[in-house]
Structure formats: C-alpha cells, structure tokens
Symmetry: C2
Amino acid sequence: MIERAASDSGQRPHFADALAARVAARETQLVLGLDPDPARLWPAALEAAPEHGDPAQRAAAAVAAHCRALIDAAGPECVAVKPQLACFERLGAPGWRALADVAEHARAAGLLVIADGKRGDVPLTAAAYAQGLLGAVPTPFGEVGGLRADAATVNPLLGIDALEPLVAAALTAGAGLFVLVRTSNPGAADIQDLALADGGSLWMRLATIVAHLGESAIGTSGLSDIGAVVGATAPEHLARMRELMPHTVFLLPGIGAQGGSVEALAPAFAPGRAGGLVTASRSIANAHEAAGGDPAEAARAEAARLRAAAWTLA
Amino acid sequence: MIERAASDSGQRPHFADALAARVAARETQLVLGLDPDPARLWPAALEAAPEHGDPAQRAAAAVAAHCRALIDAAGPECVAVKPQLACFERLGAPGWRALADVAEHARAAGLLVIADGKRGDVPLTAAAYAQGLLGAVPTPFGEVGGLRADAATVNPLLGIDALEPLVAAALTAGAGLFVLVRTSNPGAADIQDLALADGGSLWMRLATIVAHLGESAIGTSGLSDIGAVVGATAPEHLARMRELMPHTVFLLPGIGAQGGSVEALAPAFAPGRAGGLVTASRSIANAHEAAGGDPAEAARAEAARLRAAAWTLA
C-alpha cells in the first residue's frame, strides 16, 4: 500500500512539469497578458461585434474577438496567456462568457491559461474560488465545470488556512498557483515592504510561506506547482527571493508598460528556464500605437522581442 | 468657486449616511450573507430550477431562487445583503447573471447590497474591478453598467495606490468600501497579526491606512464611507480598532457558523448604531438543520434573534 501510494504520488501530473515541458518545446518564457479595455480594442475586433443589441453583449463579443486576434498574433511567441479577470468581470455575465471563450481559444493554440484574479478569502470561500477557477462544483443537476485554468494568482493576506483549499484544489487538478509575494505597483512598498519585528520584511515572510507550501509539490523538473508573483519592477529583490524560494516559479508582471526591463530578471532563471515567466500585456497589445502599422504585426514583433530578450538570459 | 465646491462636496451622497438612515429606519444592523452552496439549497429553490438543460444554468437558477427566498424570509430583519461573489462566480456566466438578479431582488426589498469579493490589484486593474462592482465601464457600444453595489469588500495587500481607484470610484458613485483589516479565520493571525519593527501589528497599520483613507469621506452621520472588515472572532481587538478608526463602519463577519458571538461586539457601536454591521450567512440559511421545521421560518427566527441581540448592545 505504501509503495502504491508513493507511486501514485510520483505519477500525479505536475503543473510545474507541464510548464517546464511547454517552455522547452515552445522555446519561450513569455506570458501574454490579456487585459482588454473596451475603449482600446483593435479595429477589426470592434467590427466583429454584433451590430445591434445589448451594450454588454456587444462589448463582450468585441473583447473576445480582440483577445482571440491577440492570441493568434502573439501566442506563437508565448507559453501561456494570463487573462485579467477584472477586465472580463466588468462586463457581467457576457464578460464571463467571453473569458471562457478566450481561455478555450488559448488552450486550442497550445497555450497554458493563468487566471489572474488575485482571489483570497476565508477557507470555505477560498474553496469556492478554487472550484470556479481550477476545478468544478458538484450540484444536484450534475457537476458544473469552472474555467479549468492551468493556474491562478492568489492573495495571501488571509493566511495559510485560507491558501490551503486553493493549494489542495490545484494539486488535485494538476494545476498551479501563483501567490502574491511582491507586486509591481509603487504602492506595494506600503505593506509588502514593511519591516517585521523579528527580522526581514513582510514579503520575505510571504516568500517563506510560499516556499513551505510548495515543498511537497515539487515535480521532476525541480520546480514546484506553487509559484509566486514577483513584480519585475523591483529587480533588486530577485536574488533574495530566489534564495528564499529555490524551487518556485516566478510570475514576473510589470515588463513594458509598468516600467520593468527584461534584462534585470536574470536571477529568476536560476532553477532553469521555466523558473521565471515574463509577463507583458499592454506593451504587446498596444505596440502599434508607438510602432505604427498593423496591430497584429506590431504585437507579434514586440512579443518576439521580449521572448528573445528573456531566452538569452536563462 | 470655493463656496460652490464646498457646497457640492457637502451635498455629495454618502454611503455612510445612507447606511445610518437605513439602520435607523429598519431598526437593524444585521447583514444577511448570501453564500449559496448548490448542495445545500432550500428544497423549494431546487424545484424552481428548469427541469432540463445545462447544469450551470439549472444550478444558477436554483441558487437565485434560494437567495430570493432567503431575502424574502430574513430580509425584513436586515439592513443589507452581502453576496459572496465566489459562490456565484463558480457557476460561470449563469452564476454572474444570478448574482445580478439577486442584487436587484435585495434592492427592491429595501436592502443595501455589499459585494463581498475581497478584490485587490494594481491600480489600473483595481479601477476595472471598481467599474464592475460599483460603477460602469465606457465602451464604443455605450456604457455598460456593472453590479452597482452599494459597497464592496477589498483587499489592501497591494498598498495605498491600489486602493485609491476603488476609493475614488466609491465616492463618485455614493458607494462605500470595506477594507480587510483583521479577518475572521484562524489563519488571519499568520499575516495580519505580525508584529512590525516600528511597533504595532500589521492589522494596526492597515487600520491606520483605512482611517486615513476615510478621513475625507465622513458624512453628516459622523461615519466614513470607507469601512473595515473586522472579524467578529477576534473581539479582544475591537476596542483598539475603534481607537484607531473612530469614524469607520465595521463589517463584522464570523457570527454564528464561524464561532463569534454578538455580545462581544459592543465596542464596534461606539460611534452609533451603524458603526457595526453584524454579518451572518450559514447560521441563518441553515438554521432549519438544527432547529427543524420550515427553512424560511427558521431563517427568519434566527435573523430576528441576531438582530435583537445586536440592537440591545448599541
């Protein structure tokens, strides 16, 4: 029985291993952020919306068309997409349907899907978020499958018991989590950089918690299914983060529009190429606004540039 | 011009004033939490679902019927409802539509709507959450109205710049926010109770930030539109919280199912009856499981008990 259990455990599919294999096969660590703003969609996407009807349904159709076109253009340079749930959720039920549609389009293009919702709540509610994003919910009418993302971003402010249902659901589904450790906005310093009475900062404490949660979820790649969100705008912390979280995949938002540069990220890749995922969204989707020309071609070129810059570091 | 501005500012509708007026008129500080679990719906709600079709749509219809029945039964004892977004979101687009339906039903019953999603993200994304929950999003197809909740719960881990777009949107909409300060789960101690190097704990720092953000949003009630989530399971902190946040409305989850008792909450009501909102969900919705009898009658009785217990304290 013990052998059987050990063997089952060894065969459990790991998000981290699937990610490492995908990074190697596609030769890219770039993650395409999908933060669609209805006021800045590509012209062809606007034309794809129904001519009449409810504004929310028309806007959601245009948002979905924009994201599909962005995936078609820049997806081949990427390993995953990262839809920003806020940008879909603000369009209500039609927006949520657009999110499911876009996730399906990304999967069909061979991309992993990282649901970026930064959810976090007390344990019972955290389990409900996990059902919606990573698993399914049993109902008297049959099981209702959720978004079935490959990974989700989560907020650790509510503590370890609030993360545990998300970790359990992720491991059951062969999915991953990215826990906020140090975010990319200037205000991150207000809370995450606070010095603690017993040494270090809050983000260091969060890093320790993430490393501990992920210890029992390390795959054959040497990487854990429990990752961390580490803003690319604070590269001075990256070496220390890597010490504290040696097996953790770093999701690195803040490249481009938020001011981070790819070159500063080298320490992220110490455990291998899949140790750091470089995320960019507006700098790709809006590349044509600076570069001119066709939005799709500008997006592809900017994604190719970021992909090459990251690949040479690792 | 200065007089005009001051006068405009004085006339801006305040969530806190609307709340105080509603608490006085309805003689209750009780908030009905709506955390529908498709596996524990009231029997009549299950029967209200369509007989055939997609499980998500059938489950969402049953969830909406359950919440409407709960509002009809316990709503008269309450001042507001607090839908838990996770419980709707896990049913996808049909769940999001059920959420909008339930919010509308609550409004029609004279109840305020507090969207409990604990959202938090970098500033641009926080603004998108604010559009979806409290405001509207402009699109080329016309404005898309969001949930138009009266208030929303938010997570402050990302810092002050990430809260500011939510505060701005709330004040523009005459809505409120409840910022997490000390949550009701045991694991809250892991992060929120950490001692800081320059004194106090993280939750005290969060309390100071909330008080500061809310200073310019105090209505004629003496209460601010920027409230705090303060778990009823840690009443030993309440007096200190009230010192740090003298004008803040405390949203107090954790009564009943999570183990908190109403009697321990007296310090919350120092600035007036609307200074503390007592939240209960499963202890009301599932009261019939312990008490027996009709679910609606058991829910009404439990809500009436909690309402009276809170009202005598304040």
